[in-house]
């Protein structure tokens, strides 16, 4: 196995957002993917980044309180009255 040493891990981690956003120019994309084939650490890092993104999307929000819902009903009624 030959190592494409032209791209360091340090450079690779800085390219990963553009990679996930599909914004890398073709040549950079090829070099990056070659690197990921042999560098298990960078590949791990990428998987961890994807995992982080996936679980960030699961953060729950706070549902509106009953008080808020009542305020919203009043707001809607008054908006309806003036339109």
């Amino acid at each position: 196995v030959t190592r494409p040493v032209d791209l360091s891990c340090k450079a690779v981690v800085e390219m990963l957002t553009d990679y996930l956003e599909k914004r890398l120019p073709h040549e950079a994309l090829v070099r990056l993917e070659q690197h990921l084939v042999w560098c298990v650490w960078c590949d791990d890092y990428l998987e961890q980044l994807k995992h982080t993104i996936a679980i960030s999307g699961q953060l729950p929000g706070q549902q509106p309180s009953l008080e808020t819902v009542e305020k919203m009903k009043a707001m809607f009624a008054s908006w309806k009255g003036t339109k």
Partner: protein, 209 residues
């Protein structure tokens, strides 16, 4: 010109027709997101609720101008951010997206120095995470870690990260809502994601899940 698409168009039409349930449904679907976004600008729950209520009133008054060029969610986020920015201007506070900074996403000391045989290669590689890709469950511990890490991000990184990864807007939508350039949006997102990953490293790497 695009007409509002599918569900969004139906909801807007129902609200214009005076359907309270349609409005309350919209509130239910987006109130939590808007409160989360409002909390990025004002550091107090009561002020955030105020801001979100302002946002709903502004949205109702402008509902006829909704043309469906953006999703309803993105449109609401845009209204909220404009209101928040106006409020901050009065308090002479601003959040800048123009200088995303230049520090690396991963600290330089985790890589081999230039003098090494393999410069720039991992000196302290990311520890393997004991998790399977299909098991992306947000446990209470992870949730606490993530929320803590998000709270510690600089304002501009936090806003981009929350809109993108927590609320699920795409890059173009975030640029429109925040008025940030596409390049800076990606740089800010990159830094923010790297910090969240690093904060989770301590949970996953000790195999605590």
């Amino acid at each position: 010109m695009n007409a509002p698409s599918g569900d969004d168009a139906a909801i807007v039409a129902a609200i214009i027709a005076g359907d309270e349930q349609a409005f309350l449904g919209l509130v239910n679907a987006h109130h939590a997101s808007l409160v989360r976004l409002a909390r990025m600008w004002v550091r107090d729950d009561a002020l955030a609720e105020d801001l979100v209520q302002d946002c709903w009133l502004t949205a109702l008054n402008a509902i006829r101008t909704f043309q469906g060029r953006a999703r309803l969610k993105t449109w609401l986020c845009g209204i909220l951010h404009n209101l928040a920015r106006a409020r901050l201007r009065k308090e002479r506070r601003t959040v800048s997206f123009d200088e995303p900074g230049s520090e690396p996403a991963v600290p330089a000391e985790r890589f081999r120095p230039d003098s090494h045989r393999w410069p720039g290669h991992w000196a302290s590689p990311p520890p393997h995470w004991a998790q399977s890709p299909e098991k992306q469950v947000l446990t209470a511990e992870l949730r606490e870690k993530l929320e803590e890490a998000i709270a510690e991000l600089p304002d501009n990184q936090r806003m981009v990260l929350i809109l993108r990864d927590v609320e699920g807007l795409d890059g173009e939508e975030v640029c429109n809502v925040l008025g940030v350039s596409d390049t800076n949006q990606r740089v800010l997102l990159h830094r923010a994601r790297a910090k969240l990953r690093a904060s989770l490293e301590t949970v996953y790497a000790r195999g605590g899940l």
